[in-house]
Symmetry: none
Subunit: 195 residues, 4 copies
């Protein structure tokens, strides 16, 4: 009679994304998530170990999906340039379509609580590795030039992150899509990408 298990799980995660985005992790009560998800407070605990587990699961799930999508886009590209451009585009578009997720990512990425940090680092690291792989391959093929792989990734991700951060904070943000080309061009320059 009731919603299947999977559906309710997603409903809670969606609600949590909204709620965390609006109030922040600490200022958002579990009861608020429950209400938003249309379930009882106690029900949350049938699906998640505790509040932190909601955040962690949310992050793992969404980031996994995100990385998946990026990975999918990349394989269709021929050159490193295309791959980087593709990541930029997918990243921006994904976040633009999932504003609450973007906010949560911005906020909770930096929790200093060691437990949360640890739990969150996994999915993020996976994305980092993906970027670094593309960069490494580009260097091998001499399509780009970077003196330090990690720093290259930091520039790549940090820039995207800053763009989204501003967009998230801004009350009347211009569309992220608008900056795609500028961004790609800038990054291309940083990596001395050959045409």
């Amino acid at each position: 009679m009731s919603k299947p298990r999977e559906e309710k799980y997603k409903a809670i995660l969606d609600a949590a994304t909204e709620a965390f985005a609006e109030y922040g992790y600490f200022s958002c009560q579990v009861s608020k998530i429950a209400k938003l998800a249309g379930v009882a407070d106690g029900t949350i605990y049938l699906y998640f170990k505790n509040k932190q587990d909601i955040l962690v699961s949310l992050f793992a799930e969404r980031m996994g999906q995100f990385t998946q999508e990026i990975r999918h886009e990349i394989v269709q590209c021929r050159t490193t340039q295309q791959r980087l451009a593709s990541i930029v585009r997918t990243h921006l578009r994904y976040m633009e379509e999932n504003r609450s997720l973007a906010i949560v990512t911005q906020i909770e990425l930096r929790q200093s609580d060691p437990q949360i940090r640890e739990a969150i680092s996994g999915p993020l690291r996976e994305y980092f590795q993906l970027i670094e792989q593309v960069l490494a391959e580009g260097m091998e093929k001499e399509e780009i030039v970077i003196r330090d792989l990690k720093v290259g990734r930091q520039l790549f991700f940090g820039t995207l992150d800053a763009v989204i951060s501003d967009w998230v904070i801004s009350k009347k943000p211009r569309s992220l899509v608008e900056v795609e080309d500028v961004l790609i061009d800038l990054i291309r320059g940083a990596f001395r990408a050959k045409n």
Copy 2:
């Protein structure tokens, strides 16, 4: 008589920096700051309106000092390239010398609590404007090429931020100074800086 007052104020701010860095703003109790500062809980409230005011004051004070220092370095530079290199160097070194501040900055920069956000945005915006000024001047003098000032700043700051973020999270970080040159080189490329 105002000497000990000033001293105690700084002691509390220092303690708060440490404590916020270690536990995060929300997970850090006022009593923990008090103990670390070597004062009674109540004493805190002789110097700060409330817990949030500690964070805000801390941020305003430290970021103000930071921007000041950067500004001071910049004026001694001739070219835009030098100016950008100078900011990178000062930024990294300042954070390396103030690891706790770096952590707090990383964490609290992204608080979604609107009040905190608002209070914090001032000092940060000032730094952003400083960067954008340098970039604007560079474009005017045709020392660099950027299609969008804001995106340029986002790349510049975002990259530095990501570098520090990794450094902060890392258990055994390599010195930030080590990456200075790579970083400067990368940014130079992004902005097509002429030698």
Copy 3:
């Protein structure tokens, strides 16, 4: 299901009456009420907005009941004399049976906190109006003589209040019932009541 809810609500109100009576509103902690009511501290806040709300609710509930009872007695009386005597008797007996309420009334009636005062004034004013109605009707029918309705009510209520005040303070009080007749006689004289 709403049965236990109602029960717990009353239990808290009863406990609060006892506790406020014994310690006074300000010197009585919420936790003391909770313990006395046999519930957890937090449970209090499922039923009341805050500590002040307990006091206000308590007052509204009990005084409403009290006025109700008085009103019920009055309608059965023929003459103003009987009505006044009835109020005196009911007032004294009600307070004698609800000593804690009597104490709370004595104490909190005079809180200078404007908020509390305002909240409390409603039910009390209702009682005052009841008295004044009886007096007004008595004057119309020429059963009593009063030059000023308000002062008449003040004498009536003030006297009862003083009697109860003494009784409340006294360690070994004589029964309030004992003074009924004397009191009625005295008031009758003040109002020049005709037999």
Copy 4:
């Protein structure tokens, strides 16, 4: 050089009267009294044992003065009627001239805190005895008729108290002096006073 001891003592008591009247005993901080008295917080404790001692001293001092004044008026009266009228008049006028004291009296008379209560009861009891003496003498001389001395006093004091209570609460109170005659007349009736 500094104010003589006595003057500062009075200043604190005056300040306390104002402050207690405005905020109530519990909601009034010692520091507020100090500021109002123009002394440092610590100075208070050179003159009073603690906060409660301020209230108690205030009450003892002011009520003593009050009773004194009443006593002084009474001796000049010939008949019981005159004496009662004199008390009514003096009581009302004294309170009208000392509104803050009137408020404090209204409020703090009923503190349930046993300690405060005990300390306050002394001066008040003295006034009660004064009234009862007048009544007793009146009965002896057959100038009035009362079946119970205590109840007589309760009517007398309670009525005055209620009048003042209303006056204190009222935002636009009519002068207390206006009700004098009505009041005296009413009380005269209660006691079957002979002309």
